[in-house]
Assembly symmetry: C2
Homo-oligomer: 226 residues x 2
Amino acid sequence: MNPKAVVLLSGGLDSATALAVAIDEGFDAFALSFFYGQRHQVELDAASRVAKILGAKQHKVLTLDMRPIGGSALTGNLAVPKDRPHDQLSSGIPITYVPARNTVFLSCALAWAEVLESFDIFIGVNALDYSGYPDCRPEFVRSFEQTANLATKACVEGRGAMKIHAPLMHLTKSQIIRLGLGLGVDYSLTHSCYDPLPNGKACGHCDSCILRSKGFAEAGLADPAA
Amino acid sequence: MNPKAVVLLSGGLDSATALAVAIDEGFDAFALSFFYGQRHQVELDAASRVAKILGAKQHKVLTLDMRPIGGSALTGNLAVPKDRPHDQLSSGIPITYVPARNTVFLSCALAWAEVLESFDIFIGVNALDYSGYPDCRPEFVRSFEQTANLATKACVEGRGAMKIHAPLMHLTKSQIIRLGLGLGVDYSLTHSCYDPLPNGKACGHCDSCILRSKGFAEAGLADPAA
């Protein structure tokens, strides 16, 4: 029987790759997505397709509505910034940052891991392209792992140690794409855009679209979802 | 202007006392409750009354439905244990434990604190009466505080350090009751029962009812909600 891992899956390029890595490493993958009040459901549809195609054992969507606390362009009425130059994308913290999002998502993954008796959680965070997000940095991931080991029944009872895997942490976007392609990820199924058009297509102008497009260009490939 | 604090408020005896402590210490209190799939809404009604009477500046209820991941008598179909002897209440981890609940709740409190530009979170956890819950121990709270300081925009930008206050950590239930009475808490408004009767009254037989009743008895008082 394979060990179980909970994999945070947004439906974007990074988390799809993290899911493929988890499965490639021999885990039975339990994919976890959130309806957290995001502007669009397109990414949840993408998560569902990706989980199925890559062979996750289960895919659950938890409802955690962050809208009442506000504070982000992704859940509120603030405008998503468009056409920012590349060199501005990694300076400062963008208003698309959702407060404490990865802490919240990892906590929910921890809850499911505890129920599954799993000691492994995968998250597709990346310190290079998203250096503006504090909860994407290696020191944050390491600290959360320590907290997780003090928080859970199985760890306190000595049945195992929780490990937070962040296999994309030090890769560039083009390295992530090449890694995923090598593992059979079909990026045409993924969705990265913060502010999709009414037909569900990517806007091509938000930070996430710009980083994705740059990644495919640097890998010398066309984006199959473009 | 007073500093702001986010206070986790379940509507029970402990969190009502933690709210009173936060206000007594000079904070403007922003109370946060959850609909997490609990069996009853009685405790959310209690939270709302307590927040209002004690003078919280705001009270928000976030929806975070933990039922899809299961694993607890408080959110699933497992029976809530009744009439357990006192000496069993603190041995082992009860099935009323909700997986990773305090990690999840503190993460959401952190998100709101970030939006409010607050650096203080209060949680009414207690290591004595609830020693069976791993996420009620001081080492867990300290570790979460470290993680919070790495997770948030304001901390990374050097605007402050996040502090997790657990003012009830080392108090017995009767000490908590005396502390709260001294601060004007009306415990008739609070609700502690895990499995209330159809009329909303406490069952009197679950672990939480037994601990509450023991606390009032040891304080030499009658429970005004009984």
